[in-house]
C-alpha cells in the first residue's frame, strides 16, 4: 500500500516529520517497507541561468546556449522554442539520469556543435507534465540549487498491510491509526450528498443477498470524460504507481486507495435494460476488460444487464460496457460483496485486482452510499453532468460486533498492567464505542473493522497502541535440571549424521521433491505421488528414494570437475500420499577414487564393501544389532543384481547397499561406477528398556587367545557368511571369532570352486591350550564345514 505525505495530510492534521511518521507506522503494525523521496536520488540537476543564446549554425530551430550553473559556464545545445537569454531553468549535467528517457546525459555533438548538458522540460524530470518548452523558474531564483531544494518533494510511503487490517488499504484508515497512536488529529470527512434531479432510468435488483447484501447504483448524465483529471489527483496516482487513464477511471481508483472503497463505472448507454446481480449459470461466459474470456460456474457472482454478465462482481469489469473518452452517460456501482464468494471466484479463475484484494479482506459494509456520494461529487466536479437519485437494492444496516475486554485478563495474558481509562481512550480513538460495566469494558467495533471477534482482538488493539516494546521481557520459568530434549529417534538421527560425517561423507540436504522421469525406476512398484502444481517439471514428485537426488548431486559435482564424491542425506522418502506415509532414511553414495594419487597408498575406487560398511556403521550408530542382521541379495532393481545386498532384522528390511545398476546411471548421464546405501531408520528397533542403561557384563579371560588360519575349498555359490557361521558354530564355547581374510578363484581350482581362507580365534577359558586342544578344535571346524558347506580343507 502506497500513499504520499500530502495525501495522508488530507486526512490527518499533523506536524510530525516523515521519519516520525514512518517509525510510528512500523510500531503500530503498519510496517514501512520504504519511504521514497522522489528527488533524493536525482543527482546532477541544478538551477542554472542562460547567459547567452546563439542560433545553431546548422539548424533553424536549435540554439547554442552558454549556461551558468554558479560554478562554471557550459555550452548546451537546446531545441526548446521558449529559450531566451537571462532565463533561469534546470540544467542536467553530463551523467545525470533522465527518467523519461531511461538514460544518462552524455557529452555529444548535435549537428557538429558540442553540447555538455541539457536544459530540462517538466516531464523529463518528473516534476510535471509540460513538454512544450523548458522549465522557466522565477527571475529571482537562486542558481546552483539541487532539484530537491527547488521542488518540494511529496515523499511516498510504501507500507505492508496484513490481511486483518483491510481498512488500512485506504489512506484514511492509515490516518486514523496514526491519530489513535497520538500522531495528530483525524480530520472530519467532508462528503455531501450531491443534488439529484431525477430517478435513475436503470433499476437494480439482487437475487442472492448473501453474496451481495447491498447494491447501489446512480445514473449520471452528460459527463465529459475528455476532461483533464486534476493535477493533484494525477500526481497522487502517479506517485503510487497508477497510470492516469481518464477522469472516470481515475476517480474510482483514487477512492479505492483513499477510502478502501471499490467502485465500478459502466457506460450507461452500452447497458441494455436494468441491472441484476445474480449467480452465473454453469458455463456462462464473461469477457474481462483485459479481453480475457472466462467460463464461469454457478458460484460466481455476476452483475448483469439484459445481455449477460457485464462485471464479475467485486473482482473485475467486463470489456463491452466500460467507459471510454466518448462516454456521456454513466452508471456508478457502489456495492457490498461477500468476502468468501469473492475469494473463491478470484482464486478459481486466478484474477487479481485492487477491488478483489479489498473485498476479500473487508470493505466497510456501511460505506456503499457514502462511496457513491463521494464518487458522484468528484465526477460532477471534474466531468460535469447531472446525478440521479441513488438506487439501492438490499439494506445498508450492518451491525458490528460488540465484545468486551477485562483489564485483569490483559494483565494475566500479556504481563503488563493497563488501567481501564487508558484502554477506553485507546479503543475510542480507534473508533470503538465503549461502555464500562463491572470488570468489563464493552466495546462495539467500528464498521470498517472486520477483524474484531472477541477479547483477544481488543487486547491486541491495546498492546499495539501501547507498543510491544513497552511490554517487559520475562525469561521462561525453568527447571534447574532440564530433562532430555530429544526423543530416542531424534537422538539417533543426530548420532547417525555425525557417524557418517566422521566416515568421510559430506552431509547434504536436497529437495523432498524429485523428477518423476528419473524417479520411475525407484518406486518399488508403488504409485507416484505427484504434485498438482509443481514449480518445475524436475520437482514434480515426492521422492520415493533419497538416492535420486543424491545421484543428481553427484552428476552436478562431476560436471564441475569433482568426480570423487561421498555424499549422504538423512531425510524422508515417501511411500504414500497420506500424512505420515513417509519414513526416515539415511542414504549415501560413494563414487570415484578413495583419494587422489598418493606416494604411500595404492589408488582404488570405492566399492560395495565401502557402502556395506557405511550401512552397518549407521545401524551400529543407531544402536541396532548390526551383527545379527541377515544379508540377502534381493535388493531393488535400481541396484546391480549381482553386487548388492539387503540387510534384514527378522522380516524388516533395514538397509540396501550395492552398486547402482548401470542402466540407471545411463539415464542420469553418469559415466562412473556409483555405490550406494539406504538405511531405514524407522525399522531399527529402539532399545527395549530405556530405563535400564546397564551394559552386558564384560567377560575377560586371563589366557591369550590363539589365531589359526585355515583355508577351505567350496562351491562358488556358497556364501561367505554361511561358511563363517558354520565355523563359529563348530564350537560355541571356545571359538571367539571367525574372519575371512582371503578369497581365491582361478588357477589350481576347478571352475565352480573357490577357496576361502579364514582366521579363527580360539579363546582358552580355564587353562592355556595345549597343541592337542587346538588340533581338536581345528578338526571340529573342518568337520562342521564339511557337513554344512561341503567344504574341503586345503593343505597348508
Amino acid at each position: 500500500m502506497k500513499f504520499t505525505l500530502s495525501w495522508l495530510k488530507e486526512h490527518l492534521d499533523t506536524d510530525a516529520s516523515v521519519e516520525k511518521i514512518a517509525e510510528t507506522l512500523t510500531k503500530i503494525g503498519l510496517e514501512v517497507e520504504e519511504v521514497i523521496n522522489p528527488f533524493e536520488n536525482m543527482d546532477g540537476f541544478v538551477t542554472a541561468k542562460v547567459e547567452d543564446v546563439e542560433n545553431h549554425p546548422d539548424s533553424d530551430h536549435l540554439h547554442v546556449l552558454k549556461v551558468n550553473d554558479g560554478k562554471q559556464i557550459l555550452q548546451v545545445v537546446c531545441g526548446a522554442p521558449n529559450v531566451k537569454k537571462g532565463m533561469i531553468g534546470i540544467l542536467a549535467h553530463v551523467g545525470a539520469y533522465i527518467p523519461l528517457f531511461g538514460e544518462k546525459i552524455k557529452v555529444g555533438k548535435i549537428r557538429g556543435v558540442e553540447s555538455c548538458g541539457m536544459m530540462c522540460a517538466e516531464d523529463e524530470i518528473g516534476v510535471g507534465t509540460d513538454h512544450q518548452g523548458i522549465i522557466e523558474l522565477p527571475q529571482n531564483a537562486q542558481i546552483g540549487l539541487s532539484l530537491a531544494e527547488v521542488y518540494k518533494a511529496d515523499p511516498v510511503f510504501d507500507i505492508s498491510i496484513t490481511p486483518n487490517r483491510a481498512e488500512c488499504l485506504g489512506v484514511r484508515g492509515v490516518a486514523r491509526d496514526l491519530a489513535a497512536a497520538g500522531l495528530g488529529k483525524l480530520k472530519p470527512l467532508n462528503i455531501v450528498r450531491p443534488n439529484s434531479s431525477f430517478a435513475s432510468p436503470i433499476k437494480v435488483t439482487v437475487e442472492d443477498s448473501k453474496a451481495c447484501p447491498v447494491y447501489t447504483g446512480r445514473y449520471i448524465r452528460g459527463v465529459n470524460n475528455k476532461a483533464e483529471t486534476p493535477k493533484w489527483m494525477k500526481d497522487r496516482l502517479t506517485a503510487i504507481g497508477l497510470r492516469s487513464i481518464s477522469p472516470l477511471v481515475d476517480i474510482t481508483n483514487y477512492i479505492n486507495y483513499d477510502m478502501a472503497r471499490p467502485l465500478h463505472v459502466f457506460d450507461a448507454d452500452k447497458l441494455k435494460g436494468n441491472i441484476c446481480v445474480r449467480m452465473a449459470k454453469d458455463g456462462e461466459e464473461f469477457v474481462s476488460l483485459e479481453e480475457k474470456k472466462y467460463i464461469l460456474d454457478n458460484q460466481s457472482l455476476g452483475v448483469c444487464d439484459d445481455e449477460g454478465i457485464q462485471c464479475l462482481g467485486g473482482i473485475m469489469g467486463g470489456s463491452s460496457k466500460g467507459c471510454s473518452t466518448d462516454t456521456v452517460n454513466v452508471f456508478l456501482e457502489s456495492a457490498l460483496f461477500n468476502p468468501v464468494c469473492i475469494a473463491r471466484t478470484g482464486r478459481k479463475f486466478q484474477i487479481d485486482s485492487d477491488s478483489r484484494y479489498r473485498y476479500e479482506r473487508w470493505v466497510d459494509p456501511n460505506s456503499n452510499v457514502l462511496g457513491s456520494d463521494y464518487a458522484t461529487s468528484l465526477i460532477l466536479q471534474i466531468c460535469g453532468g447531472e446525478a440521479s437519485e441513488i438506487e439501492i437494492a438490499g439494506e445498508e444496516n450492518y451491525k458490528p460486533v460488540t465484545t468486551y475486554i477485562r483489564p485483569e485478563r490483559l494483565k494475566t495474558f500479556i504481563g503488563i498492567e493497563v488501567g481501564a481509562a487508558k484502554i477506553v481512550e485507546i479503543l475510542q480513538r480507534l473508533g470503538f464505542e465503549t461502555k464500562e460495566e463491572g470488570d468489563k469494558i464493552w466495546a462495539t467495533a467500528p464498521t470498517w473493522r472486520g477483524d474484531i471477534e472477541g477479547e483477544h482482538d481488543l487486547i491486541e488493539e491495546v498492546v499495539r497502541m501501547i507498543g510491544l516494546d513497552n511490554i517487559p521481557a520475562e525469561s521462561m520459568p525453568k527447571n534447574y535440571f532440564p530433562k532430555q530434549t530429544l526423543t530416542a529417534e531424534q537422538r539417533r538421527m543426530v548420532t547417525v549424521k555425525h557417524e557418517l560425517a566422521s566416515r568421510g561423507l559430506l552431509e547434504t540436504v536436497t529437495w523432498s521433491f524429485t523428477d518423476s522421469k528419473l524417479a520411475k525406476d525407484f518406486r518399488k512398484g508403488r504409485e507416484p505421488i505427484l504434485l498438482c502444481n509443481p514449480i518445475t517439471a524436475e520437482m514434480d514428485e515426492m521422492r520415493p528414494s533419497v538416492l535420486i537426488n543424491l545421484l543428481q548431486g553427484l552428476k552436478g559435482n562431476i560436471a564441475r570437475g569433482y568426480s570423487n564424491v561421498c555424499l549422504f542425506e538423512c531425510g524422508p522418502e515417501f511411500w504414500g500420499r497420506k500424512p505420515g506415509e513417509q519414513r526416515a532414511v539415511a542414504a549415501g553414495i560413494r563414487s570415484g577414487y578413495t583419494g587422489k594419487k598418493h606416494w604411500l597408498k595404492e589408488e582404488r575406487q570405492f566399492d560395495v564393501f565401502d557402502v556395506k560398511a557405511d550401512a552397518m556403521a549407521v545401524i551400529a550408530a543407531a544402536n541396532g544389532p548390526f551383527d545379527s542382521a541377515k544379508i540377502s541379495t534381493d535388493a531393488p532393481e535400481y541396484y546391480h543384481p549381482g553386487r548388492s545386498g539387503v540387510l534384514r532384522l527378522g522380516a524388516n528390511i533395514i538397509a540396501y547397499f550395492g552398486e547402482i545398476h548401470p542402466s540407471i546411471l545411463k539415464k542420469f548421464g553418469i559415466k562412473q561406477k556409483v555405490c550406494a546405501f539406504e538405511v531405514f531408520l524407522d525399522n531399527i528397533p529402539l532399545p527395549r528398556n530405556t530405563q535400564d542403561k546397564a551394559k552386558k557384563k564384560l567377560e575377560l579371560y586371563s589366557f591369550q587367545p590363539v589365531d589359526k588360519d585355515m583355508a577351505f575349498i567350496v562351491d562358488k555359490t556358497i556364501r561367505a557368511d554361511d561358511v563363517v557361521a558354520a565355523a563359529k558354530n563348530a564350537d560355541r564355547n571356545y571359538i571367539a571369532s571367525v574372519r575371512v581374510f582371503d578369497v581365491y578363484e582361478g588357477e589350481n581350482l576347478p571352475d565352480d570352486k573357490k577357496s576361502l581362507a579364514l582366521t579363527i580365534t580360539f579363546q582358552p577359558k580355564e587353562a592355556t591350550f595345549g597343541e592337542q586342544d587346538i588340533e581338536n578344535l581345528m578338526a571340529k571346524v573342518e568337520q562342521a564345514l564339511k557337513a554344512k558347506c561341503n567344504a574341503i580343507l586345503r593343505d597348508a
Binding site: 483477544h456 515426492m542 500420499r577
Partner: protein, 367 residues
C-alpha cells in the same frame, strides 16, 4: 709369563681400536676365553706359593675386571654408533603429505538444528516431529485459516491430489509451515506443553531469496500462566544465546498471523554495509521471526479451553539462522550438494553443540 701390565695395555689399546662387535668378541676370546692369555695365567696361579698366589691373583682379577669393563663399554659404544648409522639411513622426508583422510562434514542445517535444540532444551522444551505431507485441516483450518482466507494467498502452497475425493479442499498439501506440528501435538497431549518442531517446509517460490523447500522451527507453549512478556523473554534469551552475544538489541513490531493474536515480528539489531552484515548493535534492523499468543480458535480446534489455557507460538527459518550466524550468502546453495560448498560451510563431525560445551567451534581443523 707375560707381563700383566703389558697385556693389559695392549688389550685395552686393541679394544679401543676395535671397529666392530666381532673384533671385540675375538679379543674377548683371545684374552678371557678358555685358552685366553688371562685364563692361562689364572691356571698358572696353582704353581705359585700361597703369598705369591694372593698378590698375583688379585692383580689378575683386577686386570680381568678392567678388560671386561672396557669390552662392555666399547661394545655399547659400537652398538650405539651402528644404530645411529642405521637410523640415519632410515631418514625420510617428513614434509611429504599424509594419506588422504576424507573427513566428512555435517550440513549447516543439521548444525543449526542441534544449536536450537540445545538452547530450547535448556528452557524445558521437547522436540516434536510431524509429517511433510499434511491434510488441509492441520496445515490451515485448525490454524484458524479456513479455505478462502486471504492468508492462504500469502503462502504459495503445493497440493497433492486426494484420489478419494474430488473436492479440492480434501487434497493434501506439502506443509507450508511447521505450525501444523502445533496441532498434532495439542491433539495428542494435554497442557502444559513446551515444544519446538524443526523440519522441512515447502512453498512454491523460487528466486534469489526463496527456495521451494526450506527449514523452519516452530515453537509452542501452552499452560495457564505464560504471558506475552514470557514470549519476549524466551525469544530474547534465545537470540542472545544463539548468536553468542552478551548484548543484542531487539524490537517487536505488531503483525498478523491467523493462528496468533496479538501477533508480532521480531527484529534484531545489525550493522549493514555494502560488503558485510554484522549481527549486534548497529544502525539497522533485521527481521528474524514471527510470533504471538496462541489464538483461542486454535486452542478450541484442538479441544483445549482457551479460557483456562493460554500460551505463545513462534516460527523462524533454520536456513536463515544459518545464513545470518555463519555468513552464508545464498539460500539456494544449501540444496545444491556442491562438495566444495559442503566442505567449506559444513561442520566437523565432532563439533557438537550444547549449552555446557558451547554451541559452535568457529571452524575447527580443516582437512
Amino acid at each position: 709369563m707375560e707381563n700383566i701390565e703389558d697385556l693389559k695395555t695392549k688389550t685395552l689399546e686393541d679394544i679401543a681400536k676395535a671397529a666392530d662387535v666381532k673384533t671385540l668378541d675375538d679379543i674377548k676370546v683371545a684374552v678371557l676365553g678358555k685358552k685366553g692369555a688371562i685364563t692361562e695365567q689364572m691356571k698358572g696361579l696353582a704353581l705359585l706359593s700361597v703369598d705369591e698366589k694372593k698378590v698375583v691373583g688379585q692383580k689378575l682379577n683386577l686386570v680381568k675386571g678392567e678388560i671386561e669393563q672396557a669390552l662392555d663399554n666399547r661394545k655399547e659404544e659400537l652398538a650405539k654408533r651402528e644404530l645411529d648409522e642405521k637410523l640415519k639411513k632410515e631418514t625420510i622426508d617428513v614434509t611429504l603429505p599424509i594419506r588422504d583422510e576424507n573427513l566428512g562434514r555435517v550440513h549447516p542445517v543439521s548444525k543449526i538444528y542441534e544449536e536450537v535444540v540445545a538452547i530450547f532444551g535448556e528452557m524445558g522444551f521437547d522436540v516434536a516431529d510431524g509429517p511433510d505431507i499434511e491434510d488441509q485441516f492441520h496445515n490451515f483450518n485448525a490454524l484458524n485459516t479456513p479455505a478462502n482466507h486471504p492468508a492462504r494467498q500469502m503462502q504459495d502452497t503445493f497440493y497433492i491430489p486426494n484420489p478419494e475425493s474430488d473436492n479440492f479442499d480434501d487434497s493434501y498439501v506439502v506443509r507450508t509451515q511447521t505450525s501444523a506440528v502445533q496441532i498434532r501435538t495439542m491433539e495428542k497431549k494435554q497442557p502444559p506443553i513446551r515444544i519446538i518442531a524443526p523440519g522441512r517446509t515447502y512453498r512454491s517460490d523460487y528466486d534469489a531469496t526463496h527456495t521451494p523447500m526450506f527449514h523452519q522451527v516452530e515453537g509452542l507453549v501452552v499452560d495457564k500462566v505464560t504471558t506475552f512478556a514470557n514470549l519476549k523473554g524466551c525469544l530474547y534469551d534465545f537470540v542472545k544465546a544463539f548468536f553468542e552475544l552478551d548484548e543484542l538489541p531487539v524490537r517487536y513490531r505488531p503483525s498478523y498471523f491467523p493462528f496468533t493474536e496479538p501477533s508480532a515480528e521480531m527484529d534484531i539489531g545489525c550493522k549493514k554495509s555494502k560488503t558485510e552484515l554484522k549481527i549486534g548493535a548497529g544502525n539497522d534492523w533485521l527481521e528474524i521471526l514471527g510470533c504471538g499468543m496462541v489464538h483461542p480458535n486454535v486452542l478450541k480446534a484442538c479441544g483445549i479451553d482457551p479460557n483456562e489455557y493460554q500460551g505463545f507460538a513462534f516460527g523462524m527459518g533454520l536456513d536463515r539462522l544459518a545464513m545470518l550466524k555463519y555468513g552464508i550468502p545464498d539460500l539456494r546453495t544449501f540444496f545444491e550438494s556442491d562438495v566444495r560448498w559442503l566442505k567449506h560451510y559444513g561442520f566437523m563431525p565432532l563439533d557438537e553443540s550444547s549449552m555446557t560445551g558451547g554451541l559452535s567451534n568457529n571452524g575447527g581443523l580443516t582437512r
